[in-house]
């Protein structure tokens, strides 16, 4: 394995870790599809910042993208609370509209410029080690720095907000009455998801973000009975998928994020059948 390979695995693993932590909470809150919607909805933010500043990978980009992600969350939430649309339809209404705006923006104003739609959709993890920035005198891949910072921030967030997140997901009324500010933490969580989706978008592209958030978390739920262990196992599944997926991609010469996602899916399928307590085989045995 070359140093570049190691770097790709580390970036993917860090990303899996942060996505699995937030994804685990989203899966338990019945909001598993939110990262998918957000990762599409951020496109107009990226385009807008590009049109305004000419930059496509600055802090402004992250801020603009996150703003549209939050807009997507708030918009669908408003539609749901208006009481005329179910929450799934509200989400399905908002994110394609925002994504459409982004596509139109690209094709109208930026088609000659170098917003690379291909990498926006598929991501460009493969080239991540090549784009470096200097930090404290060392040349480090930009993706590594961004993903690393995001992961540390997510871990801190989950640790600090552990009780309100746990209580508000399990029993929202209790969290509210106990003075844990459950509703507020829920909103903080959504903003964090929007921000992380932007980071993930940068590395793996819009359409694979959902994989990193949902699949390892769903696998972990089948293996654990406590929230803490579920989130740790989910991050572990993410790392396993990153290492194995990278290996498969190199030997088959195909998309790295794609094979990481696929490995994650295989891991889930195996767990669904074989998990010791909650697996299908165990249940079938218990019945007969």
């Amino acid at each position: 394995m070359t140093p570049d390979d190691v770097m790709i695995i580390v970036i993917a693993g860090l990303l899996s870790t942060s996505c699995a932590l937030l994804g685990g909470l989203l899966v338990l809150r019945g909001q598993a599809l939110l990262p998918d919607a957000v990762s599409h909805a951020v496109l107009p933010g990226i385009v807008l910042i590009f049109l305004l500043t000419g930059e496509r990978a600055s802090l402004w980009t992250v801020a603009g993208a996150t703003a549209f992600g939050v807009l997507c969350v708030l918009g669908s939430d408003w539609l749901r609370r208006s009481g005329v649309i179910e929450s799934d339809a509200a989400l399905a209404l908002v994110f394609p509209a925002l994504f459409s705006l982004g596509i139109l923006g690209i094709s109208r104003f930026a088609s000659g410029a170098h917003i690379d739609l291909d990498s926006a959709i598929y991501g460009d993890l493969t080239f991540a080690p090549l784009r470096t920035m200097s930090l404290f005198g060392a040349d480090l891949p930009r993706s590594l720095v961004i993903t690393g910072v995001a992961t540390v921030a997510v871990v801190l967030l989950v640790v600090v907000l552990w009780r309100p997140l746990q209580a508000a997901t399990f029993d929202p009324a209790f969290a509210e009455l106990a003075g844990l500010r459950g509703r507020l933490t829920g909103q903080v969580l959504l903003v964090a998801v929007a921000g992380l989706a932007v980071v993930a978008f940068d590395s793996v592209g819009a359409i694979l973000v959902i994989t990193f958030f949902v699949v390892p978390a769903s696998t972990a739920r089948l293996l654990t009975v406590r929230l803490g262990s579920m989130l740790v196992v989910a991050a572990g599944c993410g790392w396993i998928a990153s290492v194995a997926g990278h290996g498969v991609a190199v030997s088959l010469d195909t998309s790295i994020p794609g094979t990481i996602g696929l490995t994650s899916g295989v891991l889930f399928a195996l767990t669904l059948v074989l998990a010791p307590r909650r697996g299908l085989l165990a249940r079938w045995r218990a019945r007969t």
């Binding site: 746990q166 399990f170 929202p172 209790f174 009455l177 106990a178 003075g179 739920r221 406590r226």
Partner: protein, 242 residues
């Protein structure tokens, strides 16, 4: 003079633009086992939830133990209806009970050895000690209800509010829970339970509030559950009372 456990004045609440409660004026005394009864859709649960600030668009004055809710959060514990919690959440029984200490410890402070002792005590009191490490989704309805009462007990609250605590609960659990609740009242605490079994209320409760879109009658169960007021609550459409 002790303040009433709950006093509502001119309270109204609506769900999705539809009024569920109108003109609720009622006082529930402290230190007694009180039931909120009425037909389906009478707004029993809504009244309790509205008073606890869990329902949007509520009007009127709410006083718990003579104070607005935000002043007495730590002194009031709530046991939600069993389907209001995420049943597939990965959490063990003992972790649920530990949540009862969160209001006192906040976001970050660790639980003290005293907290752990208290958790163990209340779990023994409701008879779920041996279930401590079982995940909540493997418990029966009755076992789960015991765990949630234990959480309320761990909160050491002066007032416990329960929403339909005896649905999907076996007879033995119901007897145990009632005994514990009666004991709490003897020790000076107050209990308000939304309930639908009128027989139970007559036999075990000290006070009752009969609802049908608003308060039809309140007082001792024998005074409230008269054929006349029952006719008024159950004999007409829930909202016609306004």
């Amino acid at each position: 003079m002790t303040e009433p456990a709950l006093r509502l004045q001119g309270m109204s609440a609506s769900y999705g633009g539809r009024p569920v409660l109108t003109g609720v004026d009622v006082e529930i005394p402290a230190g007694v086992l009180s039931a909120v009864v009425g037909p389906n859709g009478a707004g029993k649960s809504t009244m309790v939830k509205a008073a606890l600030g869990l329902v949007p668009s509520v009007r009127g004055t709410v006083r718990w133990l003579g104070q607005p809710l935000r002043r007495v959060r730590k002194r009031v514990a709530y046991v939600p209806q069993s389907d209001a919690v995420a049943k597939d959440f990965p959490i063990t029984a003992v972790q649920v009970v530990e949540m009862g200490r969160y209001p006192h410890r906040g976001w970050l402070r660790r639980l003290t050895p005293g907290d752990d002792e208290l958790v163990a005590d209340v779990m023994a009191q409701v008879g779920v000690t041996d279930l401590a490490d079982r995940p909540i989704d493997e418990l029966s309805g009755g076992q789960r209800q015991r765990v949630f009462l234990a959480r309320a007990l761990a909160q050491r609250a002066e007032l416990i509010v329960l929403d339909e605590p005896f649905t999907a609960v076996d007879a033995r659990t119901e007897a145990t829970l009632l005994e514990i609740l009666t004991g709490l009242c003897r020790d000076g605490a107050s209990v308000i339970a939304v309930h639908h079994d009128l027989r139970d209320v007559l036999d075990h409760f000290d006070h009752a509030v009969l609802m049908a879109g608003t308060v039809v009658a309140a007082g001792t169960p024998a005074d409230v559950l008269t054929p006349d007021s029952l006719e008024r609550a159950y004999g007409m459409a829930p909202l016609a009372a306004r």
